[in-house]
Symmetry: C2
Subunit: 137 residues, 2 copies
DNA sequence: GTCTGTGCAAATTGTTTGCACGCAA
DNA sequence: TTGCGTGCAAACAATTTGCACAGAC
């Protein structure tokens, strides 16, 4: 454990993450928390996110649209990712890559510790407004 | 098709990509080609990679260690990704997420067009030198 | 009082872009 | 000759970091 002391901002970031399933980026967390903590700084968000990641409290889903996205649900689970608006949804599939860790270790000679399964496409909203670039943002 | 004219550099980038299974980044492509084409510029590598991507000639595997990695093999297939040295290996598993597109579309209301399956861990080399930070780069 | 956490701004790093020139057609 | 392709350098954008001060213990 690296973190030692209590901090209101850190607490707020962690709570915000655990209360949403939007898999937010640092930027999104900052925007949402800034009104409640006017003196919050983006650097603090980044520093705490890295702290959480080191402690295993959050996991990184990947980088989309240039921004790293975080997930409070650290159990491996598949995602749906919209390639247009970068919305990320959790999926509940009777499907796991975990069964194959041993196969992969045998094939590569390495050790497998986690997985990442994602389906890419257009989300419901983007399918509806397909072609309407204005909705992409 | 956006590209129109022949270009030696573009040809070289595409050939380099199709000749390797290292899933290189723009930076890595540049470093490898620079000795052969001393007046090659990094901007050209990026511009051509984006062109290839638009044309569907290459696919992006993801962003690791801050760098986007490209794959000439555009057929969906699982990868092993070393979280320490960011080596990327192709896997040949009797395993596919493609069967689940319909499930995911039903669950999300969106449309699925591709997938991404990756196993994360330490590659053989990094397992051997575990703890030896010097080898990570 | 000590040491961690933060704001702020500067620094870093990967990627994109504007412009003038080179080269393919 | 037309216009895409490129080198170069500046512009951008996400993330990291140094420093002095604020707050937890």
């Amino acid at each position: 454990m690296v973190q030692r002391k209590y901090s209101k901002k850190r607490q707020a970031i962690l709570e915000m993450l655990s209360a949403t399933d939007a898999h937010p980026s640092a930027e999104q967390i900052y925007s949402e928390l800034k009104p409640l903590y006017p003196d919050l700084s983006l650097g603090t968000v980044y520093r705490n996110l890295n702290l959480f990641r080191e402690n295993g409290d959050v996991v990184c889903v990947g980088t989309f649209g240039g921004q790293e996205r975080f997930d409070w649900n650290t159990a491996p689970h598949p995602h749906f990712i919209c390639t247009r608006c970068h919305r990320i949804l959790d999926l509940d599939l009777s499907f796991s890559a975990t069964d194959h860790y041993a196969d992969v270790e045998k094939a590569t000679g390495g050790s497998v510790s986690s997985e990442s399964v994602a389906f890419l496409g257009l989300c419901e909203q983007c399918v509806r407004s397909a072609g309407n670039i204005a909705d992409a943002k």
